[in-house]
């Protein structure tokens, strides 16, 4: 699925001030492309991902088209339905439910909508695919960071989404585990999925096709060379 964004703005309003976090962001991501988004903390990266995936509504005038669907004009209910069917979300802190086993966490996205036995079979397949089938009955606090992130990826894969939204998913992982996770995502990209990847990590940048940098709410495409030589990433 292509992603077309035009004039995407987002303003946070509080009683005392208005803060524009995204300012007229315009860009396009082609189907099957891996796009890395970099930028310092508070620059608006996470907000951009949330607006793209419909978790957060954008300001009036913003246009977000994913495939043929105008996300910006859809209701909260429709956006959730779209997200469930087309977007897989991965966080840095995994967002696993501590009460549930790894397998139950994988089944969770479709729990109200599909038969449990079908979900169970699908979860087992995904966990086997990600080499964590031996940990399927473990609780999150019994898993290593890499295992937890694999469980999170398996959960994001449950609906076979077209787009993966990754918010610093390797931030808490050691190098070898990080590489494993990136390899998995690379494989998913090769299968035709679009990947939006927020990171601070230069090594990750190598995996992407293009790089965008967020700075004070504005998004600008940069080359890898420019980035390394002229604009070192500031945390």
């Amino acid at each position: 699925m292509d992603i077309n964004v035009m004039n995407l703005s987002k303003t946070y309003e509080s009683n005392v001030e208005q803060k524009k976090v995204l300012d007229q962001v315009t860009f396009k991501v082609n189907k099957g492309e891996w796009v890395n988004i970099i930028g310092r903390s508070g620059s608006g990266k996470t907000t951009l991902l949330k607006c793209l995936s419909g978790i957060m509504s954008a300001d009036r005038g913003s246009i977000i088209n994913i495939g043929d669907l105008p996300i910006h004009s859809k209701s909260e209910e429709d956006r959730r339905e779209f997200r469930r069917q087309h977007i897989g979300y991965i966080y840095q802190d995994y967002q696993l439910f501590p009460a549930y086993t790894a397998k139950q966490n994988v089944m969770l996205p479709e729990l109200p909508y599909q038969n449990e036995s079908i979900l169970l079979k699908r979860a087992e397949e995904l966990m086997e695919q990600l080499n964590i089938e031996h940990r399927q009955d473990a609780l999150p606090n019994q898993l290593s960071g890499g295992e937890q992130q694999r469980v999170a990826i398996a959960r994001a894969l449950l609906n076979n989404p077209d787009i993966f939204v990754c918010d610093e998913p390797t931030g808490n992982l050691d190098r070898s585990t990080r590489d494993e996770v990136l390899q998995i995502l690379k494989q998913l990209q090769e299968e035709g999925r679009t990947i939006l990847f927020v990171t601070h990590d230069y090594d990750v940048i190598e995996y992407g096709d293009r790089i965008f940098e967020m700075d004070d709410g504005r998004l600008e495409e940069v080359s890898q060379k420019t980035l390394i030589i002229e604009k070192p990433i500031k945390n």
Binding site: K50, I55, M56, R80, F82, Y89, Q95, P98, A99, T101
Partner: protein, 832 residues
Amino acid sequence: MFSLHVQHIINNKKSIIVMILMLIVIFTLSPTAFKMVWEGHEQVNADITDFSRGDYDLLVRASQSEIERELGVVEENYLGVGNGGITYEQWENIKKDPRIETAAPVASLGFFTKIDQMYQLPKEEGSNRYTVSYKTTDGVNTYLINQQTAYLFKDNEVVYDYFYPIELMNIFGEFDNANFEIPSSYHPVIAIDPQEEKELTGIDFSILNKNINNVQTFPEESQLIPLIDIAESSTPITTEVLIERLDITHQEINDLKQAVDLSPNQSLSDLEYYAELRGEHVEERDEVKEALDTIEETDEQVHIINFFEHLSPFEQEWYMIDDDYNIVMESEYDIDEHGEAGRSSGYLSQNVIYKSLSPKYQKTQNGLSIELLDYEGEIPIHRDLEQVQFQEYDVNGDNSDLLNLFQVDTVTVGEYVDSLAASPMGIYHYQYGHLKETGEQLKPTHHPGSFLSLPANGLISIDWADEFKGEAPIDAIRVKVAGLSGYTEEASQKIQHVAEEIEEMGLHVDIVAGASHQNIDVQVEGIGMVVMPWTTLGAAESIINSWNVFSIVISISFILVALLSFVARIRTMEHELYEDKIRLGLIGWKPSTIQTFYRAQWGIQIVLSVVLSLVILLLSFGIDILMLIGWSITIFIVMIIHASFTVLYKQKNNKTHKPRQSFLIANIYYYRRHIQAASLQLLFSTSVIAFLLTVQQVVSNRISVTDLGQYIHFQINELQIILLLSVVLLTVYTLSESIYRMWKEREEQIEFLKVMGWQNKDIRRSYTKETLSWVSPSVVMGNIIGIIAVVVFFPVNLTVVGINLIVTLSILFALTIVLKVGLRQILMRGVS
């Protein structure tokens, strides 16, 4: 450090405000509850003292009826059949006891019929058919007693013939007028002691001691008994007079006579005489009757005469009817204006006494039933009657032993019926009962076979009672114990002591002090379900006991619920502060410094709560010493609990969590620490609410069966409702907070469910299902525990089960609403 305290308060303002609010609720409601329960107790005692001692304390009888023994009640008219059983000597012995203020005897002589009397209708023009109908009523239904039809024929306003039933022989046609006889009615006559009765009622009965001689209407040598008529006693008989004008000539009557072989000089009435007294010419009589009955009237008029609204059954004076069909006493009747009137009366009718036996009561599941024995005419009869000819007039002999009742006065008993008084009113009771279904008031018919007891219609002196009933004529003695100013515990003991001593004389004594009227359901065959006022013995003791149980239970329950809520709150607060304390430790604070800091924080909250609660108490309730004591005790308990809790509290983690196959069980197991506390609180509160509601219902049912109980219940009902509401509100508040806190802790998870694409309704359904899966068993178990607790103290009935079912469903319904609202709030606070 001061600025740090201020900053801490600002940062935790929500939590601190909630704690202060809760403390204010506890510090204000607990002493208020304490005071209210105390005052309620005082109120009950005061009410009992003021209102539960009736006009007398002891009812002394030879024995009580079986039904009274079974039910622990006294019939309003406790005299029963009037068989006596107490001698003058026994009465004198009781009366002379210095501890006794009044000993008023009662002897029922039975029912006397009204003196036979005729009345004359005004003259009407032409020939007329007179149809007189006598009807009685029980307040709801009207029954025909008797109907008489008589004919008076005139030619040029000169009467030339009559036709009337045999009962009207020598009455109808006297002075060429249409005369009838007032129907028989029955009137209880009771013997009392004028002096003692005056002490009891305040009414002067001394005229009953008067000697009466030379009254014209009675045989000269007979003894006349002075009698006081009671004004309130009326007999429900109405007389309807239908007068139909007949267009018939003298010749036509003569032709009718000829047809039945009567000569023109004979009267048609002769046929009735022959038929009824000799059994002759019956066919001819019937033929004439049919012929006359079928004559079409040319005009008609109807008049109602209510003799018994105006007249005393013992009145010797004649009654007249004026031209407007009004009743006029003979002394006021103007012969010149209305013409000569026929009059006659017969005191011989009062030589017979009727004794009415008790109705045949049967105990049923819901009360009593009374069997229908017979009908007289249309009137249902529920009691057997005994007829006693106690004397006979000897036309030729000595009649000096003859006793005749002579009315000397009329008194109005008036409001001598204390609405709360315990004592059965007996001879003065005028509250008969009402139909349960419609509430229509019932009263006895004119017939002594009515299931309702008649009060006294006439009073005579007790000195005459042995002439009618022999040597033990007294049915009951109403005893008032001397030197008591109210119904206190001391009074109760003194009354009890006197009662025991009278019982040693072989008499039955009911302690009616502390008793109260009670409505009893009686299924009366032929009438319907009737609610009748009887008197429950020992009502005051029952009310005090019930109230004491309820007060203790409600106080303990309220305090426990309040303290449990407080514990839940400090547990939540400690949980919230746990991370902060760890962080302070990490940055180098000593444990003692951390402890001092948080103690100071707690001190600020408690001081604020104490001051504010005191202000609220002063402004709204007006604090007194009782409340001050309750307030101080509450603060002390709260401080102790807090101190113990902070020492004992240990934060636990979920390392012991085990994988569960079910999503639902996995959640419940994982969050069990929250759930355990909340469900324990819910279980306790639900059982307390179920128990209190049931106890309230049972106690109010128990004490409200009597008038006294109803009065007291009305007085204290408000207090009970306030305390119950407080318990309910505290429970709802703390439970809502517990559940909300648990969800709040999982807010991030809820947000991620949204990220994964779950719709709000799915999230709500999932969390509601999870919460109800532990809330429902807690509520149900709580109610079962409540019922078990009730069963220990009270008999279980359908009402108890019904109340608990309603409570269970209401709590579940309320919680479902709270859950939905709470979840909606959390969901609306989403990231969009």
